[in-house]
Amino acid sequence: MTQPVLSVRDLRVEFPTRSGTLVAVDGVSLDIAPGEILGVVGESGAGKSMTGMAVLGLLEPPGRIAAGEVRLAGARIDNLDERGLERVRGREIGAIFQDPLTSLNPVLSIGDQLVETIRVHTRCDRRTAREQAVAALTAVGIPAPTTRIDHFPHQFSGGMRQRVVIALALCANPKLVIADEPTTALDVSIQAQITALLKRLCKEHGTAVMLITHDMGVIAETADRVAVMYAGRLAEVGPVLDVIREPRHPYTRGLMGSIPSLRSRVDELVQIDGSMPRLDRMPPGCAFHPRCPDAGPRCARERPDPHPVGTGAVACWLEQGGVNGG
């Protein structure tokens, strides 16, 4: 087996507050292989962004990694100091966020931003860096890149800006890209162009991608495997088509049923009643048990951990000896 680019083990992210410690990510383990796209889905507040930010070393204090390990190509990066982290970010890990304007400097031309990033990471001269910048803009499909390179962010449309951010994230040839809702603010036609671009670049360069989104359709067409998060924990992980066609965790099943179909019409969508528990009111046992149609007495008592089932892993007592035992 090839060594995973990213390997996360038992990650725990905590926020100390006056009224106690909130656990935003709890016991999350995942691997991403070279050239693989791992989709991370789950509803708002499930801990998707916190997982990505923990990998990037960008958690806002007082948030912190309280336990677990993050390894990049085998080497630990969760215990690096700020200088070490800055070196890793940009050169080895690229980041793409929902709002391209947060990643772009409004007063610098995109060419200056690309050239600067390329030179920080490759120490080449300005001319070579500019040639590489034009190549990067060409690779992400910016028309007339030799002219556009001197334009400023506000002169681009939303979809074009996101392409520039992707060019910026990829220009140092990172091993890993964390893309947090990269297409959420974009129209479907632009969204399709951006995800196709991400996919192509990832296959061509062997980059590993963590694609965070709440859009199951995007995951279905882009990711190789998918991790479903609920209340800071992993509910289910597996190859994307297996999880979509045969979801095993009751939460994943509910999630799939709640999405309206493009092909047929039902009178009523599957409805998971209630809402995800708040971090300060996390129920004991399985975090999903108060909403789960299959829950039994064991679910309220004992917490299920992800356990290999078929081609993936599922954190549910249904798949581990039943909901009544224990």
């Binding site: 708002s44 036609s189 279905a220 882009t222 979509i244 049923g257 709640s258 493009l262």
Partner: protein, 319 residues
């Protein structure tokens, strides 16, 4: 038709987006006008759901705001079946539309008081409890403030408030776009139930085609301020004729049959300030001809049902 609740005819709304007067004079720049909605006509039958769908900036919200009277039309008219038809609007962001300093009970009671729909406090209280029940909240939720609720619950509160004025017609502008799919399912199920039980009529606005397919009787597709195709929902999804409708349907990821090798079509929506001549879709259209570059296609009846505005369809070149 007797049961047409609302008919919109030639509706147009132009915004002046020019630079301030002095700058224009000093810099010699012309006045800039933006046709957000351009010659839009449709009608809605009582008890039905008509949806407007299209990409960002195509004019959906502007149509909604014109219909409820938040904007005045620049041209065209909106005819209601009766002048006293009661209509209400539900917005995308349930939080922004709820007064954060009021308890939920007061928020829901306000339209009842304003319209004088109940005479005494006990009756108002009973009606608020009833409305909270209808949208799936408990009577005790009435004593809380909006920030104590999740996004889905807040959207339930704004639906309860909209229902408080006993509307026949609801204009819903992206009511579930800010919500998670699991919460969206709760709201869509609720809206369908209310339609069955109260006979409500909806003008529904969304950019999400799977949601539109789920809720609509009739769908109108908008592009750069104009309706380019309109048809009963099944017809539109099974036999889309307009190249833009086809592009949209082709582009959305399909969970049941994901196309992992897709080569997406290029192009973006052009600026509405300086839209292309002729058919505004022609720069992106695989079927564009010389005629399309000069002559604007009118909405004409489709052979089966609905309407479409495309020269290629009219000439039979679309098959």
């Amino acid at each position: 038709m007797a049961d047409t609740l609302l008919a919109v005819d030639g509706l147009t709304r132009v915004f002046d987006v020019s630079a301030p007067w002095l700058n224009r004079v000093l810099e010699g720049r012309p006045r800039q006008l933006l046709r957000a909605v351009d010659d839009v006509s449709f009608s809605i039958t009582a008890g039905q759901t008509v949806s407007l769908v299209g990409e960002s900036g195509c004019g959906k919200s502007t149509v909604a705001r014109l219909v409820v009277g938040l904007h005045a039309p620049s041209a065209g008219e909106i005819r209601l079946i009766r002048p006293d038809l009661r209509l209400q609007m539900i917005f995308q962001d349930p939080y922004a539309s709820l007064n954060p300093r009021w308890r939920v009970r007061s928020i829901v009671a306000e339209p009842i008081r304003t319209l004088g729909l109940r005479s005494d406090e006990a009756a108002i209280r009973a009606r608020v409890d009833e409305l909270l029940g209808i949208v799936g909240l408990g009577a005790s939720d009435g004593d809380k403030y909006p920030h104590e609720f999740s996004g889905g619950q807040r959207q339930r509160i704004s639906i309860a408030r909209a229902l408080a004025s006993e509307p026949e017609f609801l204009v819903c502008d992206e009511p579930t776009s800010a919500l998670d799919v699991s919460v969206q399912a709760q709201i869509l199920n609720l809206m369908k139930k209310l339609q069955r039980e109260l006979g409500l009529t909806y003008l529904f606005i969304s950019h999400d085609l799977s949601v539109v397919r789920h809720v609509s009787d009739v769908v109108a597709v908008m592009y750069l301020g104009r309706i380019v195709e309109e048809a009963p929902v099944e017809t539109l999804f099974r036999r889309p004729l307009h190249p833009y409708t086809r592009l949209l349907l082709d582009t959305i990821p399909d969970l049941e049959a994901p196309r992992r090798d897709r080569t997406p079509m290029g192009g973006e929506v052009p600026s509405p300030i300086d839209p292309p001549k002729g058919c505004t879709f022609h720069p992106r259209c695989p079927l564009a001809s010389e005629r399309c570059r000069h002559e604007r296609p009118e909405l004409a009846a489709r052979a089966d049902a609905g309407r479409v505005a495309c020269h290629a369809v009219e000439e039979g070149r679309h098959k």
